[in-house]
Symmetry: C2
Subunit: 327 residues, 2 copies
Amino acid sequence: MSIRVGIYGYGNLGKGVELALKQNPDMTAVGVFTRRAPESVKTVTGLPVFSADDVKDMADKIDVMILCGGSSTDLPKQTPAIAQYFNVVDSFDTHAKIPQHVANVDAAAKAAKKTALVSVGWDPGTFSIARLYAESILPQGKTYTFWGKGVSQGHSDAVRRIDGVADAKQYTIPVENALAAVRNGETPELSTGQKHRRECYVVVKDDADKARIEREIKTMPHYFDEYDTTVYFISQEELNEKHAGLPHGGVVIRNGFTGVGNQTQQSVEYGLRLQSNAEFTASVLVAYARATYRMNQEGAYGCKTVFDVPPAYLSAQSRDELLKTLL
Amino acid sequence: MSIRVGIYGYGNLGKGVELALKQNPDMTAVGVFTRRAPESVKTVTGLPVFSADDVKDMADKIDVMILCGGSSTDLPKQTPAIAQYFNVVDSFDTHAKIPQHVANVDAAAKAAKKTALVSVGWDPGTFSIARLYAESILPQGKTYTFWGKGVSQGHSDAVRRIDGVADAKQYTIPVENALAAVRNGETPELSTGQKHRRECYVVVKDDADKARIEREIKTMPHYFDEYDTTVYFISQEELNEKHAGLPHGGVVIRNGFTGVGNQTQQSVEYGLRLQSNAEFTASVLVAYARATYRMNQEGAYGCKTVFDVPPAYLSAQSRDELLKTLL
């Protein structure tokens, strides 16, 4: 009785989901749904490809649909729409819009007696869980999230849009002193800009004005102006060779205080070192697809988040095995 | 509508629970239950003290009882006994006996329509949760648990029982090279002894034979013989001054692999740096007391573990607040 999973959208994330499903023998990948011409899409493991237009016809052949579109325009529409027909999991990551997204999806899923799990990944996702556990256990204290070292695709795109730029990659990197102070148990006030610096590796078009490009990057509002930013001009060959991957990661640290007069320091740290951001997110989505299926079987309809899922629901192991081997 | 909490047993852990409850405005400490003469016990915050014999009389005045006894002889009897009258939380930490303990407590709690949460703390506890999440998300890979640097009370006791020893403190410390290799993404086979070394700070009685004591420590089966152990002889004054606390901590690391041919390295690390082992465990117990109460209100009777508890149940914040501020 394998859990039958569909993949809706086939970019880096969809490919990661396809590969992650191979690692989970209790789940079966049914196929990929795309808005492109199905015959133009070749899957990594030879999965069949269907047109996104025909998704409804597969309602009785798929237990959970993993939505692999983007957060800015795809998921706000797709997740409520697909939740009318399927249990769904998405990685909606626009933090400020999560409450609205949850409300939209909840209405659709409840009406159809489906279960939807949204904002699954690592931030939002496992980082959120780390913050929630640490703050619940240590109500007195301060939580810090440091991102990186890793590639920010949004910032890389922003650099690429500058006139004269042929290609670019941007790394977000924790400021070493700030991270060291927090790891030392201190609780400084730190803005996002005080916690992170940015490095840009930029390929310019012929005759482009490097000084102007560097200035435009460093003064770009929101993206770079509040950060210590370093710009390196390199060749396309070097960019392809040394900066091809999409690594990411970071840490969530809570410095809490317990005991008489709240004088005892207690620190919790959760961290990720990821060679592939998309593949890790995909692996999280697949584990939560298992949970989504189980929650739907139990009648837990509507839109849920990672905060609502008991950890055991993520595992392929039985309760007895978990008690024996992991507890 | 505050959650009314009782504290059963009043050693370091019970005191930690008393102080942790002060940090949680949605919970109220009702009192301490002790097997000693109640009038002989003075609580840190002035909580009333009751005889453990009278606990049944308080059944309608307490929503959750936090059991603060030891795992070797207290909890195996106390948890099933008290679960006949109260929702309970305990920190039972004898890993090999957890399945039997769960079965015993489950029968008692189910019969009484109570909810019991056992083996709550950090290992078993938050370390177990970290292992479960990481292994569910990354089914291909290897998990490592390193303990320390921290005081092992069992090992300190074992040294103290040696003839000629007046007092002693034992620290468990991760082996630096082993930890560095794992943090570097490697997946070596490591025994517990290859992951940890031990340091003993020992105060001897007058004229005791230090060479013999050192030999007895280093060759003690199970406790020390498989470890690189260093023994330092110091004065009682130095022990009191520099080794008074009960710090502990450690890390759980999973090195997983995703992508084509499982070639992409993905590492998850969860770590604790605790100045007080007992106070942190107490804080975990208190957060899970909140969850226990909620699960009982929902009719989830019987014996549960941290694997069964949705993270949101630990928090005093509402779902809306959690979605807005932590997800």
